[in-house]
């Protein structure tokens, strides 16, 4: 680990200034940052400990629910309102990592979690995300974990988390305070970027930005499912995952909010799926059409080719479970 200065931020007003300094990074749970600092993938000059800021509240806000940036994954998944009204979020969080990690991992930290690409975490390998211009080791290397949608010739990494996938399905908003103290909000669906020609940027945060919370909209009716396909039955990143909020009325689908994990640089949301499904009678052939749409631009890189049929099947399985189609 490279030497760094450690500074604790005691007041929100000071944070923006502190983290605006060149080479400064905020640390919350630290489960991702410290991991990467030990590998010298991250080499901050200063780390700003934000853990004592009062941003860990989970509280109703309007019709929705506000989850503080520093609320731990455990607190969120265990919150009564989350469990009753946004079960998909609790399920997604609980499907990720372990209890020890979820006790430290925070809302904001988890949104900013970096990829698990093996070439990103190995500083002796090329990686445009870690070292812009050095090349991508994965594209012609071992790409088992990698993306099938939204890739670029610079980067095929995935966003590895589960929580944000559920938040994308829920259409939650990320609340951000900028350097000047202004607050803005952006949909989780738009928070993460595609790699394009700047894979070093995982998301839309600008220098000095601080995530203060995530706002869940008013609860919606319907079944909420999170299906995570993984090699181990626990403690493994998703080969692919599907977050689905599905409602039905008189045999027809009235809501289909879907998001996918493990297949792209961001939680994947494709508005066309909802448009295709809503108003239709659920059937295997309908689900197949949805998968066709979802995967029309998908392509693999050898080792991860399997993710294309796997995502198709995971989607069908989830939709069958949600709609009661007996396949």
């Amino acid at each position: 680990m490279k030497p760094f200065h450690y500074q604790r931020a005691d007041r929100l007003e000071h944070v923006a200034q502190l983290i605006s300094a060149s080479g400064a990074m905020a640390i919350a749970g630290g489960t991702n940052l410290i991991d990467l600092m030990k590998l010298q993938v991250e080499t901050p000059d200063t780390i700003i400990d934000v853990n004592r800021l009062p941003l860990d509240q989970i509280a109703e806000e309007g019709d929705g629910l506000r989850i503080g940036a520093l609320a731990t994954n455990t607190a969120t998944a265990g919150h009564g309102k989350v469990r009753s009204d946004y079960p998909i979020l609790a399920k997604a969080i609980l499907a990720g990592a372990t209890q020890q990690l979820r006790n430290k991992a925070t809302t904001a930290g988890n949104l900013c979690q970096r990829t698990r690409c093996y070439y990103f975490t190995n500083i002796d390998q090329p990686c445009n995300k870690r070292d812009p211009g050095s090349g991508c080791g994965a594209i012609t290397g071992i790409a088992r974990l990698h993306a099938i949608l939204g890739t670029s010739d610079q980067c095929i990494a995935t966003y590895p988390g589960d929580m944000a996938v559920a938040m994308a399905a829920l259409d939650a908003k990320v609340e951000i305070k900028d350097r000047a103290g202004n607050t803005r909000s952006i949909a989780v669906r738009d928070f993460h970027r595609l790699p394009n020609d700047a894979p070093e940027k995982d998301n839309i945060l600008e220098p000095g930005d601080i995530i203060t919370g995530v706002i869940l909209p008013a609860p919606v009716p319907g079944k909420q499912l999170y299906r995570k396909v993984r090699e181990r039955s626990s403690y493994a990143f998703a080969l692919c995952s599907v977050a689905a909020i599905i409602d039905m009325d008189e045999g027809k689908i009235t809501r289909a909010d879907l998001a996918f994990g493990g297949i792209a640089h961001k939680p994947w949301f494709d508005a066309r799926l909802g448009e295709l499904l809503v108003g239709e009678t659920p059937s295997l052939s309908l689900f197949d059409k949805a998968a066709d749409l979802l995967l029309e631009d998908a392509h693999g890189f050898g080792e991860n080719d399997f993710k294309i049929p796997l995502t198709r099947r995971a989607l069908a399985a989830t939709l069958c479970e949600a709609t009661g189609v007996d396949a």
Binding site: I34, T98, Q99, S234
Partner: protein, 166 residues
């Protein structure tokens, strides 16, 4: 600036890079807490901080001013082992012993989590309180790898303690 480990106060390290794990093992000399991977991938370093279990390898000691840390040495001693320590012994819930302190710290906190109603990935209906099934124990203990493969005995040890309400 200090932190407390097993009711004893320690000065925080001057080098901010020192992980809580290295601080416990090296500076505090409590080598019961193990380093298996140093990256939050094995659970051998699990300790209990302010009542919650965490991977001590993925946090810096300096971030824990005024925190109360409990390590395996704080749970019991060879002459006065905790109920879980005793159960791991009698059920042979370990072999080489290296993951064991982490397993036991984890299990200790886990029983509290279940009692408090915290759901897990194995909870059928997360709107209700979890029941202490073997599947719940297995899922909740999946953050602690045991390469010797003592898992069935670990589950048996935890089940015994949980059922006895110790």
């Amino acid at each position: 600036m200090t932190l407390t480990i097993n009711d004893k106060e320690y000065e925080l390290p001057s080098d901010p890079r020192v992980s809580l794990l290295d601080f416990i093992r090296h500076d505090a000399g409590l080598s019961g807490t193990k380093k298996g991977c140093d990256h939050g991938q094995c659970g051998a370093c699990t300790v209990i901080v302010n009542g919650e279990r965490i991977n001590s390898c993925l946090t810096l000691a300096i971030m824990h001013e005024d925190d109360a840390v409990t390590t395996i040495e704080g749970l019991g001693t060879p002459t006065n082992p905790s109920a879980l320590q005793q159960a791991f012994l009698s059920h042979d819930g370990y072999q080489c012993g290296y993951c064991t302190p982490g397993q036991i710290c984890s299990a200790t906190a886990m029983l509290t989590e279940i009692a408090s109603g915290l759901p897990s990935d194995a909870t059928e209906d997360i709107s209700t309180s979890p029941k202490l099934t073997d599947e719940e124990i297995r899922e909740r203990m999946s953050g602690n790898l045991c390469r010797c493969g003592a898992y069935p005995n670990i589950v048996a040890a935890i089940r015994e303690v949980a059922e006895a309400g110790l």
